[in-house]
Symmetry: C2
Subunit: 322 residues, 2 copies
């Protein structure tokens, strides 16, 4: 949670002068989002979020992200709609950084999802996978399976610092994932960061999805696997198979999985755990002491990796095989 | 800017169950306020700010602060009104900490106040000094003139670290302030932290005041002096006499100053600079490296002290005497 970029009232007025949103009524930095600076902006026309994109988001990807959000909003999926200025532009600049004004989306994220939340979240994810059909833009998954071994090449020392012996275990995992990574599954635009803090509920019902800044083209089932890791582990590190079944069942109310997709879930979940472990491991040691944002603990995902490694059928059947 | 206390959806629901505000629709931490954790809360009944009081606010003072805010709102002053629960309580608890739900107040604070803003801000401050008339509670100013010498007793070393020779200069200032501090001026409840970030504007017009957590009984003119320091210095450290005259003129449209109050402004402004210098000096060295909140630079107020010291009539006449 952070606001990296300060916006003065003059800068805000200059930005709003390009839009038909009326005068600003309220403007507050939000303690949300570790990648960007976010502000709650109320104008005479309504409520919006102003997002200033900080260095981690590649400006070249913004047309994809904002185009996707606009596509989703126009196709009935509850995603915050980016506002175009009078010239039709979605991407603006403030303080020399790219920014965008998107609709404010109502709803609350849950900190400790229940089984019922997992079912709703699954249905919401399937709705997303249906709504992206026909979206014409493409963005490769630069954090996909092919990227993991090269990423890890620079992180052996960091892994050993985290836990002696871990580097060899991860290297073995990476070999296994490369050998068994499924091909030929149905693909399309996936969220790729469908964590509880990016999903809103109202009265316990799925209300919308935010933060599409990792969205890319990959297997839909990989998105389900990311969600299983993010939603279905208990704070003590155990995997809650009831939550997992509810998430998948909720998903299948909108988009049934093929046999191949279902069979691939365990290896996809193992890989999804690897993806978040590697980026967290990188950030853990790259974040300077005293930074505004505390990096997320890579050990959380190291434990999830260990669960998938030792119980490769867990996601499907809920019973450890080892 | 910070959110120190995490509130889960369950904790929020439990808190709201005591109120008649309906179900929550949205809940976001705000990057605002260095003393407390603040959340934007939207419910079926409206928009609110949930403030969780962290250790710097003395819980024993909360009835005064919240009672004052309620008094102001009921007497037509634009201040966020605290919401009472069904039992009539304004002060609730969450995560073992005191908290309160107050109305959301529209408006934007300005980063670089213009002369026109200073005039509006002055009028808004006078309106506050009129609206507190009759408020029955009292809170002493524990950061008032009598407190400065005892505070500085522990900070000699810190002052020297900041700037060699500064400790002796400050000690001399404190003697002067003790000798010349005005007595017998009109007193009442003052804001005592009337900085640009605590004052809201809409369309350039004064729209309201927030953050009453330093409010106390002191001379009204001392509040004007705090505001002169906070609003009328340029980023280069020079005092803008045009802004100062506008602030005082705006104030006097609502509450004319007596001759004694006007004559006291220079020494009150010198003292007000001392008060903020001392607390910033304390926080500067007491804040651990890596804390979520960066302490404010005491040198900003050391420079303001120097201005008042060398030009004791500046606030009144705008011409340096030395």
């Amino acid at each position: 949670m952070a606001v990296y970029t300060d916006i003065t009232d003059d800068e805000l007025s200059a930005l709003l002068a390009d839009f038909d949103l009326g005068a600003p009524l309220s403007f507050k930095g939000i303690a949300e989002g570790v990648e960007n600076s976010n502000f709650l902006l109320e104008t005479e026309a309504g409520r919006y979020i102003l997002t200033v994109y900080e260095k981690r988001v590649d400006a070249a990807d913004l047309p994809f992200f904002l185009g996707l959000m606009r596509w989703l909003a126009k196709h009935g999926y509850p995603s915050a709609e980016p506002m175009a200025d009078r010239a039709g532009e979605l991407i603006k600049r403030v303080r020399g950084k790219p920014c965008a004004i998107v609709e404010f989306l109502n709803g609350l994220s849950v900190r400790r999802p229940t089984v019922a939340h997992c079912r709703e979240a699954g249905a919401g994810l399937a709705g997303l996978h249906l709504a992206v059909d026909g979206f014409p833009m493409v963005r490769e998954n630069d954090l996909g399976q092919a990227a993991w071994a090269p990423m890890f090449a620079d992180l052996h020392g960091d892994a050993e610092k985290l836990k002696p012996g871990l580097a060899a275990t991860i290297a073995k995992d990476l070999e296994l994932l490369a050998a068994r990574w499924p091909v030929g599954l149905p693909t399309g635009v996936v969220h790729a960061d469908y964590f509880p803090d990016n999903v809103f509920f109202t009265g316990g019902k799925f209300a919308g999805t935010i933060d599409f800044y990792f969205a890319c083209v990959d297997a839909f089932a990989y998105d389900v696997a990311i969600a299983l890791n993010a939603w279905c582990f208990e704070p003590d590190g155990s995997f809650n198979i009831t939550s997992a079944r509810a998430l998948v069942a909720g998903y299948e109310t909108r988009r049934p999985l093929s046999d191949a997709e279902r069979a691939a879930l365990p290896i996809l979940a193992h890989g999804a755990a690897m993806r978040f472990f590697l980026t967290r491991l990188h950030d853990w040691h790259a974040t300077p002491v005293g930074a505004l944002v505390k990096p997320k603990d890579p050990l959380e995902y190291e434990r999830k990796l260990a669960v998938h490694r030792s119980s490769p059928d867990l996601v499907l059947f809920g019973t450890p095989t080892a």
